[in-house]
């Protein structure tokens, strides 16, 4: 059997790729690639938001948002994540100045805010379980836990990543590879804060209305 796409003898093999990509800046394409990953992550969250949007008012005679949510706690949570966003920004600015000690300091502060956020969220979930509102209670609660805990898991993995990078920076300094990694984590971290805006707006604030 002959393959139909084989070039006939004597002609140059067809080129299906762009040749001027050679010697291309690897860091530039890493940033674009990571951005594309974030966009696909955004689609995951969008499907979970859509699910919540569809099921969010199906209580199966169980508790509703108004019965369960404590907006003061959510405001504190939001503040934690917003603070962590700006402190990560400060870490990046110190990284640009090649100040390793201060970069590490701001990264540590960011991590602590992240831990506070996750701790508060776990505390909220424990409280909800005690209130008789586990995920299997109603469609509303299933979609609520799926959406919010997916975000919380992202933040948790972000913290793990942050600690890993702090160790890397401690060991090898602010070399080009570590800077690139810190920039990826920066995008990831700010992206999670952006998703949280959607969560507190749609799930918590609009949830308790009506």
């Amino acid at each position: 059997m002959m393959h139909t796409d084989t070039a006939p003898p004597g002609t140059a093999a067809p080129v299906f790729y762009v040749t001027d990509e050679e010697g291309h800046h690897s860091e530039g394409s890493t940033m674009l690639g990571f951005w594309l990953y974030l966009m696909s992550d955004c689609l995951i969250f969008a499907t979970l938001f859509a699910t919540y949007g569809v099921l969010g008012r199906n209580y199966a005679a169980g508790p509703s948002q108004k019965d369960l949510f404590d907006l003061t706690g959510i405001a504190v949570n939001t503040a934690m994540l917003l603070f962590s966003s700006i402190t990560y920004g400060f870490a990046m600015l110190e990284m640009d100045k090649d100040n390793q000690r201060r970069t590490q300091l701001w990264l540590a502060v960011t991590g602590l805010f992240g831990v506070a956020f996750v701790a508060l969220e776990i505390r909220e979930f424990v409280h909800l379980f005690h209130e008789g509102a586990p995920p299997w209670r109603s469609a509303f609660l299933s979609s609520f836990y799926t959406l919010v805990s997916t975000h919380g898991l992202h933040v948790s993995f972000g913290i793990l990543w942050l600690v890993t990078l702090m160790i890397q920076v401690q060991k090898y300094g602010l070399v080009a590879a570590n800077k690139r990694r810190l920039m990826c984590l920066s995008m990831f971290w700010h992206f999670l804060d952006l998703i949280w805006i959607g969560v507190f707006t749609v799930v918590y604030l609009i949830g308790v209305l009506e």
């Binding site: 951005w35 920004g89 707006t201």
Partner: protein, 131 residues
């Protein structure tokens, strides 16, 4: 991407990593932070204080403020602009936003009408049987 764009990019490549647009400045981060605080406090105040006394209007206002805050985060924290990476990050974002908009509005719209048109009948039958 054009050849000279690649060149300009390459010339910056020394021992240290450089990104187009940079990482902003203290001023940009603080501006973003202050705007975010304002755009967070207003919706919480509207909902917790029941300020507008109309849940539909409150819902719309809160949604708009959330959207604005997302844009603030994109610009001041994620340094999104139309030029970085030859415009490809922006293109990818527009594509994603379009998909997300279709997915969200489509799901809610279709399922709302399904509920409206099919659920009452089912309920009614069920209630009849139970009697």
């Amino acid at each position: 991407m054009s050849a000279d764009a690649t060149h300009a990019h390459g010339s910056h490549e020394h021992d240290h990593v450089h990104t187009e647009g940079g990482h902003g400045s203290v001023k940009a981060y603080v501006t973003g932070f202050v705007l975010s605080v304002i755009l967070t406090v207003i919706p919480f105040w509207l909902v917790m204080g029941n300020t507008l006394d109309n849940s539909l209007v409150t819902t719309l206002v809160v949604l708009v403020l959330g959207g604005v805050q997302m844009v603030v985060h994109l610009v001041y924290f994620l340094h999104m602009n139309t030029k970085s990476e030859g415009g490809w990050t922006f293109m990818a974002m527009i594509f994603t936003v379009t998909l997300v908009a279709i997915m969200l509005s489509g799901s809610v719209w279709v399922m709302y009408h399904m509920n409206r048109n099919m659920m009452p009948a089912a309920h009614h039958e069920l209630l009849q049987k139970m009697r």
